[in-house]
């Protein structure tokens, strides 16, 4: 059973390292936000593994707080991206969909 705990720790380490690679490479800020989300999920799994290994329920409130903080982080990064049309890289998509933030007629229910 001890081996399995070690395997869990090693898997989580690999997952964190790989998502940090994406955090460094990520072409856009949304990719980075996504890799931070995966990093946070690994941290949550790690905290849960700690709680399970030591039969220690004191870290459970931390799990709750972290899950909510991750949600708020993703939403605020998305809002931040949506408000900055000037840093926007032009792609063929623009012809069909205008940049949000610029006043336009086809906003479906306002900004995201």
């Amino acid at each position: 059973m001890n081996t399995l705990w070690t395997v869990i720790a090693a898997l989580l380490a690999v997952a964190s390292l790989l998502s940090m690679v994406r955090l460094l490479l990520g072409p856009s800020i949304l990719d980075r936000a996504l890799s931070v989300d995966v990093l946070l999920a690994s941290a949550l799994v790690g905290l849960g593994a700690y709680a399970a290994l030591h039969r220690d329920p004191t870290v459970l409130p931390t799990l709750m707080v972290l899950s909510l903080v991750g949600f708020v982080a993703t939403i605020s990064i998305a809002k931040f991206v949506a408000r900055r049309p000037e840093e926007h890289v032009a792609t063929p998509t623009d012809v069909v969909h205008p940049v949000p933030g610029a006043p336009s007629a086809d906003e479906e229910g306002g900004r995201p």
Binding site: M1, L4, V7, I8, L11, L12, V14, A15, S16, L17, L18, S19, V21, R22, S28, L30, D31, A33, L34, S35, D37, V38, A41, S42, L44, V45, G48, A49, A51, A52, R55, P57, L60, P61, L63, M64, S67, L68, G70, F71, T74, I75, I77, A78, K79, V81, A82, P85, V89, A90, T91, T93, D94, H97, V99, P100, A105, D106, E108, P112
Partner: protein, 132 residues
């Protein structure tokens, strides 16, 4: 609780935790290998929902022999699971929407783009209305 039952519960719990950790690795590998934002979001949601729920089940089974705080543990675990299941789809939807609207996705990888058709139709209707 008898010792045998505790051992069986421990094994089930550790298998759940192992599956959760494996899903984390799968998501990280997907983050590295997949080509654009939307397909990366597809793998990234796996450890956040399924992996988290498996880990919570594992913690619950491991903590079951600890008698004195059982009610609070189960309540906290249920709340964490509920928050994850409710918030992750919302966050994913908003991130994908912003990515689409700001042109951060790769058009050449899309098989079918219903939203573009809808937006184009809406724009035509709007310009027709403005012309009247």
């Amino acid at each position: 609780m008898s010792d045998q039952l505790v051992t069986v519960l421990d094994w089930i719990a550790i298998l759940c935790l192992l599956a959760g950790a494996l899903l984390s690795v799968v998501a990280a590998v997907g983050l590295i290998r997949f080509p654009d934002l939307l397909s990366r979001m597809h793998t990234a949601a796996k450890p956040q929902v399924l992996g988290m729920l498996l880990v919570l089940v594992g913690i619950g089974l491991r903590l079951a022999p600890v008698e004195e705080t059982n009610v609070f543990n189960v309540g906290t675990l249920l709340l964490v699971g509920l928050f994850q299941v409710v918030t992750i789809p919302v966050a994913g939807h908003i991130a994908a929407r912003v990515g689409y609207r700001t042109g951060r996705i790769r058009e050449d990888l899309l098989v079918r783009d219903d939203l573009a058709e809808r937006l184009a139709r809406k724009r035509e209707e709007d310009s027709a209305r403005r012309a009247e």
